[in-house]
């Protein structure tokens, strides 16, 4: 990122700006979801879009996740570029047939004839005191399905550049936003047009002793842990894959080869999740350079509890990552 950048936006503002720019650029782009128009979503991420683009392009739908997601699949096949808004990532379960059996398969099953250029935006992340049905991070479910792309940005800059690319992509792309970052995280975003390609990781902090691979909210956690580690003389490198599929395996492996240690941190459930996949990529690719096992830190394998002291135990924090990294580096 050039040094000259002064402008700062919140994560939500960056998302909104990406949508507005793409909607100005391409009249085929339209937004479908619950309370997306005048309300601008319950998270106020889309405020102002209906005023500029009208209700023909920013459409409030009935509370029918399967219904409007399926509609978007058909609309994408026939000339539009819909962006679907699924309020909470937990509600992805209701769109599963449309995403997994329809959107993901149509290009392949038709021998490359039909395409489904759509984006599904949704949220992830716990610690918002929203309990078990509004706090999950289910991105691994979609990563598991060939034919889908999965984008999981950690900064306003990345969110904007990646969302613009996702909208221009010819495939179904699922775009995960950490709802805690929407308004709390601010960062530099240039006013000039830019896009970020899918499948290119970003090194958020350079280091030499250990690689911390983080996704979405967990990038900030990893950066916090890196600060703590620096205090005891451990230099941590923080790598953000930015997209889970396509996946920039090379950058992950090269970093782990360089540092010889790696921890993967993600807010999805620990078991059978994203951390397992990324850890195995690193273990396979960097095995002979590693000084220890690749560790995984995902959400605890439990429904997310409501009670704040309990909920806070479920996901990694800078402190828990710091402790794990310190042990892996053999420091007490």
């Amino acid at each position: 990122m050039p040094d000259a950048i002064k402008r700062e936006l919140t994560f939500a503002q960056a998302v909104r700006e990406a949508l507005a720019e793409e909607m100005r650029r391409d009249t085929r782009v339209c937004i479908l979801g619950e309370d997306v128009a005048e309300a601008g979503t319950p998270f106020k991420v889309l405020s102002g879009l209906v005023e500029e683009f009208g209700t023909e392009r920013v459409l409030d739908t009935p509370i029918s996740e399967a219904g409007f997601t399926g509609l978007a699949v058909g609309a994408a096949m026939t000339g539009l570029r819909p962006v679907v808004d699924i309020m909470f990532g937990d509600f992805l379960t209701l769109t599963m047939d449309q995403m997994v059996n329809q959107a993901a398969k149509i290009h392949y099953m038709s021998g490359g004839k039909w395409k489904v250029p759509m984006v599904l935006r949704t949220t992830l992340g716990a610690t918002r005191r929203s309990a078990a049905q509004h706090s999950q991070s289910l991105h691994a479910w979609l990563c598991h399905v060939p034919g889908l792309k999965v984008v999981i940005p950690s900064t306003p800059y990345d969110a904007k550049g990646l969302l613009k690319t996702a909208i221009r992509d010819e495939n179904p792309v699922i775009f995960f936003e950490d709802k805690m970052m929407h308004h709390k995280l601010k960062g530099p975003v240039p006013a000039e047009e830019y896009t970020i390609p899918l499948g290119v990781a970003d090194i958020k902090r350079v280091g030499t002793d250990i690689t911390l691979v983080g996704t979405s909210s967990m990038v900030q956690v990893a950066l916090g842990a890196a600060d703590l580690l620096a205090e005891i003389g451990i230099s941590a490198e923080v790598v953000d894959p930015r997209t889970l599929w396509p996946l920039d395996e090379k950058t992950l492996i090269e970093s782990a080869k360089k540092t010889s240690r790696a921890i993967v941190i993600d807010e999805g459930y620990h078991r059978y999740g994203v951390t397992a996949e990324l850890a195995s990529v690193i273990a396979e690719g960097a095995f002979y350079s590693l000084d220890g096992p690749v560790l995984r830190m995902g959400a605890m394998h439990i429904p997310i509890p409501f009670s704040p002291p309990l909920e806070d135990l479920t996901v990694a924090t800078p402190r828990t990552v710091f402790e794990a990294a310190r042990k892996l580096c053999g420091k007490r």
Partner: protein
């Protein structure tokens, strides 16, 4: 290729060529399916296929009311819809045999045949799975103001799927140009629909304010008349419609469903075949109306048989896709 405006002849009472063509189209479907069964019996076809025999008047009656640009979505019992919309049997047989020359390069098979060039958005192996796609195609048509209409074919089994009601609601709210065509062939697989379907079928759609009609699905003229009306109405912007077509499938749920007496009697099958056959009935009407004589009908049959034989020979001789094809078309 006809357009919406130059089809006024159809609505006003089609000429004799139109009805001869409808006869030919129905016969093509019947004889296509005969060959599919033959390919299965000779162990030349991988997997299974669901035959459309007995239901031909619906696909033909509806598709003859559409232009090439209009869209259809189809089901696991989709060969009839595909042919009626204009696909050619050689590439269809090739698809059924998993050959590279098939419509989907052999990667879709019987249950996923799609034809980009005739607006066939695809068959679907998820019961009710394409209802969103059809509604989305209608959404595109309305948004892009291109005057197209989408027809969604589904069996009465899909009445059990919630997606249908989500889409009926959205389509009616947004006045989308989509016709939902319910082909009630009396059986969800091996269970009579009366055991799975509460209340009145038409009342379900009517509850959303959707214009709902019922027609004898064995009578191609009746189906076509209903389709013309509903299609023109949708094209004019008056919104969706639901058309219930009562019909019967002559053979098993799929080609391997041979012994059916545990769920329906041979006498019942015989009654439909001998007293309600759409092709026989239409042929008899053509003779009576002086549109064609027995010799002309025999000539059509000979031509269609020859066409199907050539198409099967083409598909049997066609090569399989090479191994390099396996990873192609996962992403556009």
């Amino acid at each position: 290729m006809s357009t919406a405006s130059d089809r006024s002849d159809v609505g006003a009472g089609p000429g004799s060529d139109f009805w001869v063509n409808a006869y030919r189209q129905m016969l093509r479907i019947r004889l296509f399916e005969e060959q599919v069964n033959e390919l299965y019996t000779r162990a030349l076809m991988p997997g299974l296929a669901h035959l459309y025999s007995g239901e031909e008047a619906i696909a033909v009656g509806i598709c003859e009311a559409l232009t090439n640009e209009d869209y259809i979505t189809s089901t696991h019992r989709g060969h009839g819809h595909c042919l009626a919309k204009g696909a050619s049997p050689d590439k269809m047989f090739a698809e059924l045999l998993g050959k590279e020359a098939g419509y989907c390069r052999g990667k879709g098979g019987s249950m996923h045949i799609a034809d980009f060039d005739t607006g066939n958005l695809g068959a679907n192996a998820i019961v009710g799975g394409s209802i969103g796609i059809a509604t989305g195609a209608a959404f595109s048509a309305k948004h892009l103001k291109n005057g197209r209409v989408a027809v969604c074919f589904f069996g009465e089994g899909a009445l059990g799927q919630g997606l249908l009601y989500e889409e009926l609601n959205i389509a009616q709210l947004w006045k989308l140009p989509v016709i939902y065509v319910c082909e009630n062939n009396c059986y969800n697989e091996y269970t009579h629909y009366s055991e799975t379907t509460a209340g009145d079928i038409c009342a379900r759609a009517a509850a959303f304010g959707v214009l709902t009609e019922m027609v004898d699905g064995q009578d191609v003229r009746a189906v076509n008349a209903a389709a013309n009306k509903l299609v023109e109405r949708a094209r004019a912007g008056a919104g969706p419609a639901f058309l219930l077509c009562n019909t019967y499938r002559y053979t098993g749920h799929h080609v391997g469903d041979i012994n059916r007496e545990y769920y329906r009697s041979k006498a019942e099958e015989q009654t439909w075949k001998t007293t309600r056959d759409p092709i026989q009935m239409h042929g008899a009407w053509m003779i009576e109306a002086g549109i064609a004589d027995a010799a002309a009908i025999e000539a059509i049959e000979a031509e269609v048989r020859a066409e199907m034989k050539t198409a099967v020979d083409f598909a049997v001789a066609a090569p399989y896709p090479g191994p390099e094809e396996v990873e192609m078309h996962v992403y556009a």
